[in-house]
């Protein structure tokens, strides 16, 4: 068993507003091991980005971590602020954003952006930093990296820019990468290349990857385990085969039925009725119960229990297959 890189325990993110406190992330727990890709899926607004931003300490005000623990290796990082947290960013946690067209500073060459990051975190000379930058660009598949390093971002195509972004996220050799929808803004043909690049880097370097996406195809292709989020909570988490083919949580099952997977052939897609509740209007009990076909009275009353089997867990009173109940 590879060592655990990231460990999130009962993470709560809160946004105080005039109308009360919102919880975009509510008691979320998961681990990611070295060399593992954890896929995070869920509808828009489920709290996927918030979770990632909380880990790297870049929550936008007024959102803040209000509970739980985040461990990076042996360091507890949820309580870190200011300088110590900054030194961690880029150095131990790298981040990849959705849109490569806007992620790079248009006025600096990619070489400038790479070397400044390397020099910030690693004890190397400028010449060494430049050599590392070139090596990094080669590693992510930029052809003729030595010639292209002094180019500006606008001189690259979208897919190439996302490769540059990945090189930037990896250039100080972090243990953890948070990739927030890294392929959503790209052409379909380029998406597969970027995903396989991420996968390769993860395996070769033993980096832990948190891969946020809407795309079940991406999850099936790249993730080892998958976490399904609904209204700020973790509905289900388990090995990707298990979750895709034999979901325990009714929401996951609905999500799978509503996404076209190449392997599923031409079956008619089913929509989950209704839509995810807004944060201010979460129902009592299980947040999914108003849309759930098998909901019973106790789903409406209190929080659903965490249930587990060997490899996965779900948060549901009536899982679609047998799991052991842990607590209520």
């Amino acid at each position: 068993m590879a060592k655990t890189v990231l460990s999130v325990r009962d993470l709560v993110v809160e946004i105080p507003t005039r109308w009360g406190v919102l919880r975009p992330v509510d008691r979320v727990s998961y681990d990611i091991a070295a060399g593992e890709i954890l896929g995070v899926v869920g509808e828009s607004g489920a709290g996927k980005s918030m979770t990632g931003n909380a880990v790297i300490g870049l929550l936008d005000r007024p959102a803040q971590i209000a509970g739980g623990e985040i461990w990076l290796g042996d360091t507890r990082i949820d309580s870190l602020r200011g300088e110590p947290m900054r030194k961690l960013r880029g150095r131990r946690i790298g981040m990849i954003f959705q849109d490569p067209l806007t992620s790079l500073n248009p006025l600096l060459t990619i070489g400038d952006q790479l070397t400044e990051t390397i020099l910030e975190h690693l004890p190397v000379t400028t010449a060494e930093a430049r050599a590392r930058a070139i090596a990094g660009l080669e590693e992510v598949g930029i052809p003729a990296a030595r010639d292209r390093i002094d180019s500006y971002p606008h001189e690259f195509s979208g897919g190439m820019r996302q490769r540059v972004v990945i090189a930037l996220a990896l250039c100080a050799e972090p243990e953890l990468i948070i990739a927030d929808e890294p392929t959503t803004a790209l052409d379909v043909s380029v998406q597969a290349q970027i995903i396989s690049l991420l996968k390769r880097l993860c395996r070769e370097r033993g980096v832990a990857v948190m891969l946020v996406t809407h795309d079940m195809g991406v999850i099936a292709e790249a993730a080892d385990r998958v976490a399904v989020m609904y209204a700020g909570r973790l509905a289900e988490l388990g090995p990707v085969r298990e979750v895709l083919t034999r979901a325990a949580h009714p929401y996951t099952a609905g999500l799978m039925a509503s996404t076209p997977l190449a392997s599923q052939g031409r079956e008619r897609l089913r929509q989950i009725p209704g839509s995810m509740p807004r944060l201010g209007q979460l129902p009592e009990g299980c947040a999914f119960h108003p849309r759930c076909e098998i909901a019973q009275d106790r789903c409406r009353l209190g929080p659903s229990p965490h249930i587990e089997d060997g490899s996965g867990r779900a948060s549901c009173w009536y899982p679609l297959h047998n799991m052991e109940k842990e607590d209520a």
Binding site: T102, L107, L108, T117
Partner: protein, 328 residues
């Protein structure tokens, strides 16, 4: 690149031709130049001779062409009032205005950008809010009033600084400078604050708005996510992007400083070209007025041109021909 420069130079030339036409029309149609030059005891023969010498009977386009030729060589004829070549008078007066404008411009630029950046970074701070409020006053008070208030406070009440004139000046081969004497420097303070204040507040507000916009961009988030220092994020990444659009407007502002100098020069009896122009109007000294008009427009157009080229130099995206190899 070359085509762009040529096009811009061409446009500038057209603007100057039009202003030249206005100045020329002033000569021709505001009062009778012959009347103005010959005084009371003239004979019909004198008039004929002068008309012939001045070429007043030639077709209009030919006269305009000759006027332009002369103007291009800096020859605007004799001042009606002083009977000396206008160009001599202008050269004599120019250093005062240029020194005043330069000090105001530098003041406006540096203080404006500095305060703009400060108020953007410390958006919620008390100091920033205070500066913003005070700057509103700066924008809304008319220049002459600010000048008078400053004179009242620092010259009349406190007696620290002179209220008019340039103080002692040193003649450096035809260029009189106030930079080399204490009294010259002291005399510069109040007029340059008066002249620069409006531009300073404008630049400050512009920089602030622009900077806040830039700080919201993805590449700033990404720079933070890479663990770059706040200083580097603010000044290396954000400020440079802020300055691109600010340059154009700032350049025009600096041009208008020279034009606005008229008011300040009048309030402080500053012996520059602005004051010369005001006096020229009182005496309907057309050659001086025309020359001033041409001078100011050359300056405006020239600054505009330089600003455009600067813009070009700072933003790599506009340097299309530099794009080499690969990419899209």
């Amino acid at each position: 690149m070359l085509a762009y420069v040529i096009r811009r130079v061409f446009q500038s030339a057209i603007v100057l031709l039009i202003v030249g036409l206005v100045a020329f029309a002033m000569f021709r149609f505001v009062g009778d130049p012959v009347d103005n030059m010959l005084g009371q005891e003239r004979t019909q023969a004198d008039i004929e001779r002068l008309r012939d010498r001045l070429g007043l009977d030639l077709p209009f386009p030919v006269q305009y062409w000759r006027f332009l030729q002369e103007a291009a060589q800096g020859n605007f004829g004799l001042s009606y009032r002083q009977g000396r070549p206008v160009s001599d008078i202008l050269i004599e007066r120019a250093p005062a205005t240029l020194e005043l404008a330069a000090v105001s411009g530098v003041l406006a630029l540096f203080v404006g950008i500095g305060l703009g950046v400060f108020t953007a970074i410390r958006r919620r701070g008390t100091a920033a809010n205070l500066i913003m409020t005070v700057s509103l006053i700066g924008v809304s008070l008319p220049t002459f009033l600010i000048g008078i208030l400053l004179i009242y406070l620092f010259s009349v009440e406190l007696g620290w600084l002179p209220s008019f004139g340039r103080g002692e000046v040193v003649d450096l081969g035809g260029w009189t400078t106030g930079f080399l004497t204490i009294s010259g420097l002291k005399a510069l303070i109040l007029p340059s604050i008066t002249l620069g204040l409006y531009q300073m507040t404008l630049i400050m507000r512009l920089v602030r708005t622009e900077m806040l916009e830039v700080l919201r961009q993805d590449y700033i988030r990404f720079a933070r996510a890479r663990g770059l220092r706040e200083r580097s994020v603010n000044f290396r990444h954000a400020l440079k992007n802020t300055l691109v659009p600010v340059i154009t407007i700032t350049g025009l502002q600096l041009g208008s400083i020279i034009a606005f100098a008229i008011i300040t020069e009048t309030v402080f009896q500053w012996p520059g070209v602005g004051l010369l122009f005001i006096n020229a109007i009182q005496f309907v000294d057309i050659p001086v007025m025309a020359a001033y008009l041409m001078l100011i427009s050359v300056m405006f157009v020239g600054i505009n041109l330089i600003v455009d080229l600067l813009y070009f130099a700072i933003d790599p995206r506009l340097r299309v021909d530099r794009t080499g190899g690969g990419g899209k």
